[in-house]
Symmetry: C2
Subunit: 161 residues, 2 copies
């Protein structure tokens, strides 16, 4: 029996509650930034589509009480599923949504995200606050924060393009 075999099986990680906030300034106006979250085709282009993954489903009903379902796979990976519910929408100012993420049948997280959009000179300050429950161990909130920075960088490219 090797040392590795004698290690106890890792415990199923419990619920970790965490909050993070990411801010980003864009040179475009708030109306343009908001539109990138409002318009289904734009959302699909900049946020959902990715050369590394295959999109299996994307439905997006951007209104309070409406939902998003996104399903996609990375090569060799499990199906990733996102179920979101739009909770509050103030045009050009604020979007609040809850969402659940799964990898296969494994729950990764449940989150409440607030996007605040504020005019700043001729551009926009976007503040993304996520309050979440994470199930992938101690780094999972940190990883989600990095993922969010990546998404907001993709948005910068969409707005510039």
């Amino acid at each position: 029996m090797t040392d590795a075999m004698m290690k106890p099986a890792p415990e199923a990680p419990g619920a970790i509650h965490s909050t993070f906030r990411v801010s980003r300034t864009y040179p475009q106006a708030p109306e343009r930034v908001f539109k990138a979250f409002e318009d289904t085709d734009l959302v699909r282009r900049w946020r959902v589509e990715d050369e590394n993954c295959k999109v299996l489903e994307f439905t997006y009903d951007f209104r309070v009480g409406g939902t998003e379902v996104s399903r996609f796979v990375f090569p060799g990976g499990p199906e990733i599923r996102l179920d979101a519910q739009f909770q509050d929408i103030v045009p050009n100012e604020r979007i609040i949504f809850s969402y659940r993420m799964l990898a296969g049948s494994m729950l990764l997280s449940v989150s409440l995200s607030t996007i605040e959009i504020k005019r700043s000179g001729r551009g926009t300050d976007l503040i993304f606050t996520e309050q979440g429950v994470y199930f992938e161990g101690p780094d999972s909130a940190k990883n989600r924060e990095e993922g969010t920075r990546f998404i907001l960088e993709k948005l910068a490219k969409e707005l510039a393009g």
Copy 2:
């Protein structure tokens, strides 16, 4: 012009992000505590009905992806509406739900709540964590925490009764 008239109009309160946690021990077993959240008739009895308010609507679909709608009024007050979405259910262990509350057309809050149920001797420790976005000013998270303590006290009476 009086001093009162010279005061600037109160600003519409912005989004306040806050997290609170309330713990409570019940002498009943986890299965009994969980059932009080699972069974529609029980939920209506201990949590929704109140001698001070009139229930206008209560629909409760306790499954992942299911929703709750509760509408009620206190005498002379606006209609209060709660829209909840069940995000995660582990029988006898955990319930995660998001919910939105309105008074009339005014959004009061959007929250993500985790109820953790843990066996403790012959009884149960219940840990209620709420991560929320509140719109009623600086005390709104504190008030919600007090409301949650009140609800968990109502549960104690239901379980004992």
